[in-house]
């Protein structure tokens, strides 16, 4: 059985969660790791970036499970579990390089806690087959915690050199720490798209007890990939952003 590591990128909008998720996958795939991406952002940016199409979202799968539970008030719980196993595997995008779950619109109002826990359990058993699970999250960890996985080993907070970014980071960290089921092994911050992290902001973050992993500069190759709509998995592996990210992940025993 493989020991699965779960990473989640969290941070203010537009700071680089999606690109860093993709690049982390690229680095891991090069190391022959089996990678499962989870696109937990309803905007489905990671799926788009990696050219993943024709998937069934977990949101849709969830609706189907609920529908079958509604229809068959006669359904045994074990039967609902079988249906969950089926539709979840159906939702798993599988390619030679990597696999992916796309959460999609998970309709946070209709919570269906029982179905959520069932799905979480099933996601966990699928995730257990991979070396690395990379979650591209929205700003909050709450939704990951509720709908994706109970715990994340390595929450990576992404920020830019803005005070708002730093504040979001600190808030996100507080949420992680106050969530009883979250048992991170290590949390840290990456400053993205900056030549050098702003010292005041870095101090502000470190004073709250969150280590700063380092910074990743603006990278022309990323902009080019962006402009041409290419998959970040095809980016030159010696480009500065990839090199920096690899160092950060290796230094912190994340990869």
């Amino acid at each position: 059985m493989v020991e699965t590591k779960i990473i989640a990128y969290i941070g203010k909008g537009g700071t680089g969660k999606t690109i860093l998720s993709a690049l982390t996958g690229k680095i891991a795939i090069e190391k022959q790791k089996k990678v499962l991406f989870i696109d937990a952002d309803p905007a489905m940016g990671l799926a788009t970036a990696l050219g993943v199409e024709g998937y069934k979202t977990i949101g849709t799968a969830r609706e189907e499970i609920i529908k079958s539970a509604k229809k068959g008030i006669s359904q045994k719980n074990d039967d609902i579990r079988e249906i969950t196993d089926y539709v979840l595997l159906e939702s798993l995008y599988e390619s030679a390089e990597f696999c992916m779950f796309v959460m999609g619109h998970t309709n946070t109002i209709g919570c269906y806690c029982p179905v959520n826990s069932l799905l979480r359990n099933t996601i966990k058993s699928v995730a257990g087959r991979f070396d690395l699970v990379i979650i591209d999250a929205e700003a909050g960890i709450e939704q990951i915690n509720r709908q994706v996985v109970e715990s994340v080993h390595y929450p990576i907070l992404v920020t830019d050199n803005s005070l708002r970014g730093a504040k979001t980071t600190v808030l996100a960290n507080e949420t992680i720490n106050s969530s009883p089921s979250m048992k991170p092994l290590k949390t840290g911050v990456i400053f993205n798209r900056v030549e050098k992290s702003n010292e005041d902001l870095q101090k502000y973050i470190e004073d709250k007890g969150i280590p700063c992993y380092g910074s990743i500069p603006a990278d022309l190759n990323i902009s080019m990939i962006d402009a041409d709509g290419l998959s970040p998995l095809n980016i030159d592996k010696t480009t500065v952003a990839v090199e920096k990210l690899r160092t950060i992940l290796e230094m912190n025993d994340i990869l």
């Binding site: 008030i73 719980n77 074990d78 039967d79 249906i83 599988e94 109002i109 269906y112 806690c113 826990s117």
Partner: protein
Amino acid sequence: MPDTADLQQKDYYELIRVVHEIAEENKFTVYHLGDTKICSDLGFGSFNKGNTCIVLEEDTAVELGSPQKESVSITMWTSHRGILSNRLWTCGSDFDRLIDKSVSYIQIIMLGFEDGSRAVESDIGRIKNLTNKLPGFMTRNMPGKTWIRIDKKRMQEGFSLYALGQCLHKAYLDAIPDIKSMEIILITDNDEFIKTLKPISEIAKIISGDNTKFKWVSDGVVTCDELNCDSCDEKATCDSIREMLKKRKII
């Protein structure tokens, strides 16, 4: 409350007769069920408890009845004597001869009971899931559909329709010793049979639904303690699921 005992007694006898007619009119290879040696040679038995075995696409050698292909899966029982005689009927290319890695699939399981009330629908439906029972083999079931993946290692070590039939037979006998006789039909990659058997599967679903209706019991997998649901649009449905779980002492 409707009379559940009565609902339970809906026998699939008529449907089984129709299936028999279809089978006898067509070219099938027929074997005898009861080869337990091949099951033990394959390592059949409970293993890997608690963690659902998943065969990923890249490890898959043979895929049957996936959501992209057609699948018909029927489980039926009867307490009429003498119509089932431990036969395994197979039709279509065997697993090592399939032209495509992923093909359509039909699986019909027919069980003979002395006493029909012993046949608890959803139990007999679930036993056909050989995940975690047969190494390198994964089943996913939806009502009326069975999706199977057989991994490369399993195929290298040898596997066939015959072997699958024997394992299914053993799974049923192990789980329900009351079974008196059994027949299994396995068909790969055949659109004609899909067309013929789909309607039968629909009828079987209705009978099965009637039979299960008031006979469900649950076992625990879910909890609900994390959210405040008072403002939720879907509260009514959620509550009814929860009520069911509570009744069954799950939450």
